[in-house]
Symmetry: C2
Subunit: 355 residues, 2 copies
């Protein structure tokens, strides 16, 4: 199925369920509004699921890895081989995202969206999408072909669809890819119109000279490609990454099946902007897990109208900030369905005592 067909299948959220959940939340045994953002989350989840009977089901973090030709321009503090090495580490279960996922009871699915040097011994534990052996250098030419972009997005849709058929009810999209904060910043500047100089951050930790170089590369690439901010696929083709396409596909695929997706940091944010351009109906299915310290992330969240659940100064990627937010989302769903109402509990409602 083409990504366009999936995009057209995303239903609007259920306004009746939203209204009914707002009413239910106010009947639970707590002062009105005292669960704060958990109440808003419960309402959002009801709208997504189209029911008050919320059950997040299996929680899954999809970590998509891809390499970036633009790494050759000296925009990252780490060599490109680290992408494949980290992919192997995810598959072996020893990276940050594995530990956090264990803590919150989530599974990790590792996707090779297209790394330059795939790990030899990790094949069985890695989903081999492999759109290509890394993108082309987008300072000189488009990062990928139109066909590659569609392939990446459609692979993400299929992965989400399969996971949901397998019981997943809460997904997160995370990333790994040396130089991908450069790709993400270019996407975010192209789509939001934000000034690329002010939104470029240090990524994994480039020094001052590296930061200047990142800014130059993004400015020159945007001048080269002359992107239409409304054309999400063209932006992905020009300055995107295979893992970013897969993540955008995860979001579309989940929304088409009426499941929420928690987005991670700046790379997932860039993927969300692309997903939002491909299918504006996806937006109410997105939950922002956290606010990254990368400046482009706050611009992205504001553009999408998302308020993050966590703000812990993370900037690791891998889905870490999304997975850490899973318990908050799960708590909201459980509170809304399992807490007793004042009537069920036989607890006195508000009196005139304070009046």
């Amino acid at each position: 199925m083409s990504w366009e067909e999936t995009a057209n299948q995303i239903p609007p959220v259920d306004q009746a369920a939203i209204a009914a959940m707002r009413e239910r939340v106010d009947q639970l045994t707590k002062p009105t509004g005292s669960l704060g953002r958990l109440e808003d989350l419960a309402v959002q989840l009801a709208g997504i699921a189209g029911t008050l009977n919320l059950d997040v089901g299996r929680k899954v973090v999809v970590v998509a890895a891809g390499d970036h030709g633009v790494a050759a321009e000296g925009v990252s503090a780490y060599p490109q081989e680290v992408t494949g090495q980290m992919l192997a580490l995810f598959a072996a279960g020893h990276a940050a995202i594995n530990i956090i996922s264990q803590t919150v009871g989530a599974d990790v699915i590792v996707v090779d969206a297209g790394v330059a040097q795939p790990p030899a011994d990790a094949d069985e534990r890695v989903l081999p999408v492999r759109v290509g052996p890394g993108t082309a250098d987008f300072l000189r030419e488009p990062a990928m072909t139109h066909q590659q972009a569609a392939t990446a997005v459609e692979a993400g849709i299929r992965i989400a669809d399969d996971l949901i058929s397998d019981g997943a009810g809460l997904l997160a999209a995370g990333d790994m890819g040396i130089a991908n904060t450069t790709s993400a910043a270019a996407i975010i500047a192209a789509i939001t119109g934000a000034d690329s100089d002010t939104i470029v951050g240090r990524g994994t930790g480039v020094d001052d000279a590296g930061l200047v170089r990142k800014r130059e590369v993004i400015q020159q690439a945007l001048a080269l490609h002359r992107l239409d901010p409304g054309d999400g696929l063209a932006v992905l083709v020009a300055v995107g990454g295979f893992e970013i396409g897969v993540m955008a596909g995860i979001m579309l695929g989940a929304a088409a099946r009426q499941k929420p997706v928690v987005i991670d940091g700046v790379i997932a944010g860039a993927a969300a902007l692309i997903a939002d351009r491909l299918a504006p109906a996806v937006r109410p299915y997105l939950i922002a897990g956290h606010r990254s310290t990368e400046p482009a992330h706050s611009v992205t969240l504001a553009h999408l109208g998302l308020e993050p659940l966590l703000d812990l100064s993370l900037h690791l990627g891998e889905g870490t900030g999304a997975a850490l937010a899973f318990p908050i989302v799960e708590a909201a769903a459980r509170l809304a369905t399992q807490m007793w109402t004042f009537a069920e509990a036989g607890v006195a409602m508000k009196s005139d005592a304070g009046q």
Copy 2:
């Protein structure tokens, strides 16, 4: 054992473990600093435990309930009988704190610190401390006797000690008590010196007239009792609550056994201020779970030098904001101990690529 003896037993945090954990955190397979506040948490936990081998063990939320004579002054939106009714609901497992604790894998211990109308049928599932049938009205006389205050604190110490002997490694202190935001605001004003008018909030939701009344009551009570801000027990005696004394004791008892305590909202914050006055060594053992919307809470956190992990506009109490932060604390501990280092993983370190 008296609370003074426990206070004297709280060891300073382990500076060698702190330094060693800082070093270890920088060797893990991630860009330096990219786990943000989780790295600081891991360092704090190492200092508390005196080892790099962190294990949070059993997670327990202690919910202490108590009634307040000052409720007679019309400072709450709910009638006093709700305290006992909610105690029964906690014991039956249907309140917000029960659902959140299930979500994060924590146990709930319910303590009747001294409610006016204890539930008849919940005895077996409630720890009966019962310092008294609610405090006296502190607008007219001290809320409790010196002996009652010591009894409440020492009960909390004993509960923490028993839980830790039983395998608990991460505790939270939560509360229930109609009118206890009035008590908490009085404590916070007395100890921090903050202007009581600006820090008083709506608690469970008093209207404008109720808010004016709360401010009057606190001002008059502070004028009546003329408290020494350095004398934590005297503040507890004059304007405190039995559940607040128990919570302060939980903090002292946990610290004496080198275990961290996650504090909840404004009531737990008031208890932390008292614990801090009784034993300044307790402070590095405290973790702020969240920032409540009650204005007095931010004043309290600033006074204690604590930065909350969550900011979700909660103002429910019961330990909800603390329990929601448990996965973050647990993730920090697990990441620090279970993630592989660059050397263990065979992943390339930073190159000169960005320079």
